[in-house]
Amino acid sequence: MAIDEARGAQPMIVFENVVAGYSPSLTILNGTTFDARAGEITLLIGPNGAGKSTVLKTLFGILTPRSGEIRFESRRINARTPRELLADGIAFVPQGRNLFGSLSVRHNLELGGITLPRADLAARIDEVLARFPRIRERIDNQASTLSGGEQKQLEIGRALLLRPRVLLIDEPSIGLSPKLVQDVMTLLRALADAGTTVLMVEQNVRTALKYANRALVLEMGRLALDRPAAELLDDADLNRLFLGGHVKAPAA
């Protein structure tokens, strides 16, 4: 799977010297520069606290960059709100549990499509359910009663309701069994192959590299490395080199 460098692909997302943080005195991204291309899975890795989640949050408009530029299809999107970005085709699945546990599966999906015209919503929900038969079976259950894997599927499905062209996803493998991790990765691979730009943060580096096209290593809020995923996978010193020993033993 992981793969050749189709470097011809157009960058969908560009970060150029982005400086951002949670308060004026706390700078997390220190001039971060990278790009992510259509039809690829771009994997963002690095030690805990490197700023990986911060990259996604800044890209999605939850944080505003203090300087630098973020571009989506060559358009500057620095000051956009999450709602505007969603409407433009960027969806975000944050780290951790993102469902509304007290609501049913269907209601979670309906909320995911809250920005869609009502007339389209039912058809879009059917479209997503066709991809996730397990979720379809449990459509009237309370979301908190789903298994961890089902919950992650539902979160991804909910993000796909808007047919995003860019999918940002933060540590999707947390809490999932190796089999389920592979299912999620296979799904993301299929999305990328269908033309979606996938930007994924993942600690489960070895598995993720098998599915990704490129790997970016972030250290202290700066890009430390940008290499084809396949090359990095073959690097025997992977853990020691870039990850400061923070990475858990790769899943069997």
Binding site: P82, L86, A87, G101, S102, H107, L111, G112, I114
Partner: protein, 327 residues
């Protein structure tokens, strides 16, 4: 109406239960509508006051229970509605004009009161809304030219309905009950729509809600504004019921009692305010024979309830169900 659908305990075995629940609700409503036929006029007055308070607590349940915002200012909106009604009705303006005007004024003030909620949460928000309630109370008490100060405004006329007088206690009770049911039905419809569910999303996890494109600014403000509008409507009915308004019923202590009603019934449960309002409106009357002991017993009962049933009275079925699973 099948508004019970949101109640978590019922989610799993919904269809048959829903029908039974709806029949049960219909029976309770009809029985309650007929109850005053057996009561003296004070009893009927209490039943009407119960309906009036219910409109305000239903609104507060949206703000606090569903949207997860803290508010200790509901009685201020209730009071604003009541004073607008007292002044306008005495000036001969139609009840049916006063009602939407009071609702709109409270809606707008509620929007403004929602702004602090965009920046602060929980106890800070409690203090902000409490401050608002105290301010409104002081205006009612001190602006004598408009509000009559501590003497209040008396002789508020009751409305008529299609030319029929509503001066009788029974007629006014049924009128108020019908209005309360309509308001509850509207809230039920709202809360079952995707927009209504966004309120629960806001409560569960505002940042996640935002990443789905839910406009959390708008929803936070709306949660206050709609809750306030309900209290404003309740205030109009209150003025017409009592035919006299003074500052006392709108003291922040009344806001505390309404908040208590929400918590006791089960915050964010559709029928929670019904139980809670029984507790704050009717229970004190039943305990009245205990005279000075009443407040102590009432306080003790509430503390005990919160310890044993932190999810409110309506969480009993779930506790029961969970208990069975564990064994």
């Amino acid at each position: 109406m099948s508004v019970v659908a949101d109640d978590v305990a019922l989610a799993r075995t919904r269809r048959p239960l829903l029908r039974t629940a709806n029949i049960a609700i219909a029976i309770v409503v009809v029985a309650f509508a007929l109850l005053p036929l057996l009561l003296k006029s004070y009893g009927t007055y209490l039943c009407t006051l119960f309906c009036v308070t219910l409109m305000a607590t239903y609104g507060l349940n949206l703000t606090v229970g569903y949207a997860g915002q803290m508010s200790l200012g509901q009685a201020a909106f209730y009071g604003i509605g009541a004073y607008i009604a007292a002044i306008a009705l005495k000036a001969g303006i139609s009840f049916y004009l006063v009602l939407p005007v009071a609702a709109i004024v409270c809606f707008v003030v509620g929007l403004l009161i929602g702004f602090p909620a965009l920046r602060v949460q929980h106890h800070y928000l409690a203090f902000a809304t409490l401050g608002f309630n105290i301010l409104v109370y002081l205006v009612m008490r001190n602006e004598e030219k408009i509000t009559g100060g501590t003497y209040g405004i008396s002789g508020v006329p009751r409305p008529t309905l299609f030319g029929l007088s509503l001066d009788g206690v029974l007629a006014f009770f049924w009128f108020t009950l019908a209005a309360t049911l309509i308001l509850i039905a509207l809230l039920g419809w709202l809360l079952r729509s995707p927009w209504g569910r966004a309120f629960a999303a806001l409560r569960d996890n505002p940042i996640r809600a935002e990443s789905l494109g839910i406009n959390i600014t708008v929803y936070t403000l709306l949660a206050f504004a709609i809750g306030a509008a309900c209290a404003g409507i309740a205030g109009v009915f209150f003025a017409a019921l009592v035919q006299f308004v003074e500052p006392a019923p709108f003291h922040f202590a009344a806001s505390l009692m309404m908040l208590l009603a929400i918590i006791v019934g089960g915050s964010g449960r559709f029928f929670g305010p019904v139980i809670g309002t029984v507790v704050i409106v009717l229970l004190p009357e039943w305990l009245r024979f205990m005279q000075n002991w009443y407040l102590a017993i009432f306080g003790f009962a509430v503390v005990a309830l919160m310890i044993w049933l932190p999810g409110g009275v309506l969480s009993i079925p779930e506790r029961f169900a969970l208990g069975k699973v564990r064994r």
